[in-house]
């Protein structure tokens, strides 16, 4: 297959698809009355698996943007939020745009919105990306940071309108009663059905990202990451490729946002704040930025840590309770960044080599000797 870096990636996709399928079937069949939640001692619920899928889609995009184009976005939650709010607003308040109720209640309308949301968010990223990406280094991080917080405030403050005259985003409380997705009469709910849709999208985005990074575009992006000047000397239009990477990540984030809106059936501004953006960057960095597989890995590790602390934290840290959660989370984050600065994927790949090394023998190269 052209485009794929190696057969390992295809195997990876296949294995992940199998795992997803098995877990989904397990939840549906519930052999012996056990489900995913009871299997993990009520630490990881089926709900968590769906959230991992949704966030994987966002972080895959961020991974390409950060790891391959070398551009940090501290406002990715805004793109995620744009998707969620476009789906949320136009499935519950389409009359604001004069769209008839028959369209609003039709089964294809949410799907159309999902696509329109992706197109709009992509266009938005393109328009803002062009000038911002001219800037180098930290400046993109700062620009996306400002953009992200601005959009978050617009969500929170009902786009600046008075809620009593015209209520668009629902302000602090957000939107409720967002309908479930359906195909004709087939509703993609309960969760076990929705799970398959989410993971289908997640697998598709991973496959798409793998193809992108191992194509001509991907090589150009890596060249930009290495040295922008050198890439330009090799006739790579650096600005253009960086914008493309930003648009790619924004489109994926918007898709995930729409899926999130129909998953929660409600949208509130909270997850799209600056903290939300930071969490996405953390997931990408913990997973590792040199490899698309870092995205699902990072999301899983962070969410499992969070869920574990939520479910078991009070037992481990007696008397403190759920308040200790952010402290432990922060400490784990610091430790991962100090000891595995390249993220889990890159560091895990070095593990077999550590294994082979006989005890007492000195490391062969200075490269390996470095922590």
């Amino acid at each position: 297959m052209r485009g794929f870096h190696s057969h390992r990636n295809e195997w990876g996709l296949l294995i992940l698809a199998l795992v997803v399928l098995l877990l989904g079937l397990f939840e549906i069949v519930q052999p012996g009355g056990r489900n995913v939640s009871s299997l993990t001692g009520n630490v990881i619920t089926f709900n968590t698996l769906v959230r991992i899928g949704i966030l994987t889609i966002v972080v895959v995009g961020l991974n390409v943007l950060m790891g391959y184009a070398g551009q940090v976005s501290l406002g990715q939650a805004a793109f995620y939020g744009l998707g969620a709010y476009i789906s949320g607003i136009l499935t519950t308040r389409a009359e604001l745009l004069g769209i008839p109720g028959s369209v609003e209640s039709s089964w294809w309308w949410p799907w159309l919105l999902m696509v329109l949301g992706m197109a709009f968010t992509g266009l938005f990223a393109f328009l803002v990306g062009r000038p911002i990406l001219r800037l180098k280094g930290h400046y993109l991080a700062m620009g996306t940071l400002g953009l992200g917080i601005m959009i978050y405030i617009l969500f929170r403050e009902n786009l600046g309108f008075r809620a009593s005259t015209i209520n668009i985003t629902g302000g602090f409380d957000g939107l409720v009663d967002i309908p479930r997705l359906r195909i004709g009469g087939f509703v993609l709910w309960p969760l076990s059905r929705y799970y398959f849709l989410v993971w289908l999208m997640a697998l598709l985005s991973i496959a798409l990202a793998l193809n992108v990074v191992h194509s001509r575009v991907g090589r150009a992006l890596r060249a930009i990451h290495g040295s922008e000047v050198a890439a330009e000397a090799m006739a790579v239009d650096t600005g253009d490729f960086k914008v493309r990477a930003l648009v790619f990540s924004a489109v994926l984030a918007s898709l995930a946002g729409s899926l999130y809106a129909h998953f929660q059936a409600a949208v509130s501004p909270g997850p799209f704040s600056f903290t939300g953006s930071l969490e996405l960057v953390v997931m990408a960095a913990v997973g590792g930025l040199r490899n698309v597989w870092g995205a699902p890995l990072g999301v899983t590790v962070i969410l499992v840590i969070e869920e574990f602390l939520r479910a078991r934290g009070h037992r481990i840290f007696a008397g403190i309770g759920s308040e200790a959660e952010p402290v432990v989370f922060g400490l784990i984050l610091i430790l991962i960044m100090i000891f595995l600065p390249d993220g889990l994927t890159t560091s895990l790949r070095r593990l077999p080599r550590l294994w082979q090394r006989r005890p007492g023998r000195l490391p062969t190269t200075s490269q390996e000797a470095r922590p």
Binding site: L135, H138, G143, I149, I153, V282, A285, I338, P341
Partner: protein, 352 residues
């Protein structure tokens, strides 16, 4: 494009011509006029007179001074280490909260109002400075060879831990510290004509002014300050001169933490400090630092004050809820049109 034309293009880029400067000035002027007219229009809708504007500006100056202090912390750390320290807001929060706790503890021990406030302030600033050094030694130093992104994420982690610990220790309540003038929760109000100023505002301005003067003297007159500056100009050269960059990094964090804590302590009586106050303040300080170009301490101070005023006037003529948005509009505007900072010269030649 011929080689000659390219060379001309390059020269045009590298040296800001009079034409480019005029264009820049025109852009800034256009923005100021546009912004001013929008503000005046919205203000006219609310029937604002000059007095209302003066009051808004005065209140903005108070907030802006705090932003200036925080921005100085950002600039100091960025200059020496190249890290954007997202834990900066955490230092402000720690300064304010520690001062409250120490003050209340001393009150229980029966100390008189004056000394206990003074001791609480000094102890809080000292403790936060120490925490700043510890943060650098425990988290930044072990990862000193990592990429900037990794270091920035570490500072994010540090902030999460700080806020988390504050949540455990202090809960979600908002606290209060007595005003410095009256030594009571109720502050004295000073009337300048029809304008109202809290006495605490003068403390904020005074303390910030003194801090900046001390900082200036430190950078210009002391050996350590010069070493710090040398390190920000050229790390390698500084090292060859016998300066240890990693120690300077710790010193920069200590200074940043101290400035943050001072900001938090003087701000505490004017607001109600809570465990989550750091994030917004830190981000605003960061915007102020960007307005100053991230490398220039005096410009960062002006940036902070300007930000405070614009933000307060903007919120005054619109709604309080969208107050925070102005800082980020300014941020984007500066990044797009004046990435070298509001007062910086256009960068001459790009480094390869």
């Amino acid at each position: 494009m011929s080689v000659n034309a390219q060379a001309k293009q390059f020269l045009k880029k590298s040296r800001p011509t009079r034409q480019a400067r005029t264009r820049q000035m025109a852009l800034v002027a256009a923005t100021v006029v546009l912004l001013g007219s929008i503000i005046l229009y919205l203000g006219a809708q609310k029937q604002f007179g000059p007095l209302q504007y003066a009051q808004l500006i005065l209140d903005g100056l108070r907030g802006g001074t705090i932003y200036a202090l925080i921005a100085l912390g950002f600039v100091t750390v960025f200059n020496v280490t190249g890290i954007i320290n997202f834990a900066q807001g955490g230092f402000v929060m720690l300064g304010a909260m520690l001062a409250v706790t120490i003050h209340n503890g001393l009150a229980l021990a029966g100390w008189p109002a004056g000394p206990r406030l003074a001791v609480a302030i000094l102890a809080a600033v000292a403790a936060t400075t120490l925490i700043g050094v510890l943060v650098e030694r425990l988290t930044i130093y072990p990862a000193r060879n990592a990429e900037p992104l990794t270091l920035i994420i570490i500072t994010v982690g540090v902030y999460i831990v700080m806020q988390g610990v504050a949540l455990i220790v202090w809960g979600t309540d908002a606290y209060s510290l007595p005003a410095f003038t009256t030594l009571a929760m109720q502050d004295k109000t000073i009337r300048l004509g029809t304008l109202i100023v809290k006495a605490q505002s003068f403390w904020i301005w005074g303390v910030t002014g003194v801090t900046m003067a001390v900082l200036y003297a430190f950078f210009e007159r002391t050996m350590w300050g010069r070493a710090l500056r040398a390190c920000s100009v050229n790390r390698t050269a500084a090292r060859l001169m016998g300066i240890r960059p990693d120690r300077m990094s710790a010193l920069a964090f200590a200074l940043a933490a101290a400035m943050g804590a001072i900001g938090g302590v003087v701000l505490a009586p004017a607001t109600r400090p809570a465990y989550d106050m750091g994030l917004t303040l830190g981000l605003k300080g960061f915007v102020a630092a960007i307005m100053g170009g991230l490398l220039n301490p005096p410009a960062a101070v002006v940036g902070g004050i300007l930000l405070g005023v614009i933000e307060n006037v903007g919120a005054g003529v619109t709604r309080a809820g969208i107050k925070d948005i102005f800082a980020f509009i300014i941020l984007i505007w500066v990044l797009l049109f004046r990435p070298q900072g509001l007062f910086g010269r256009q960068q001459t030649v790009e480094k390869v």
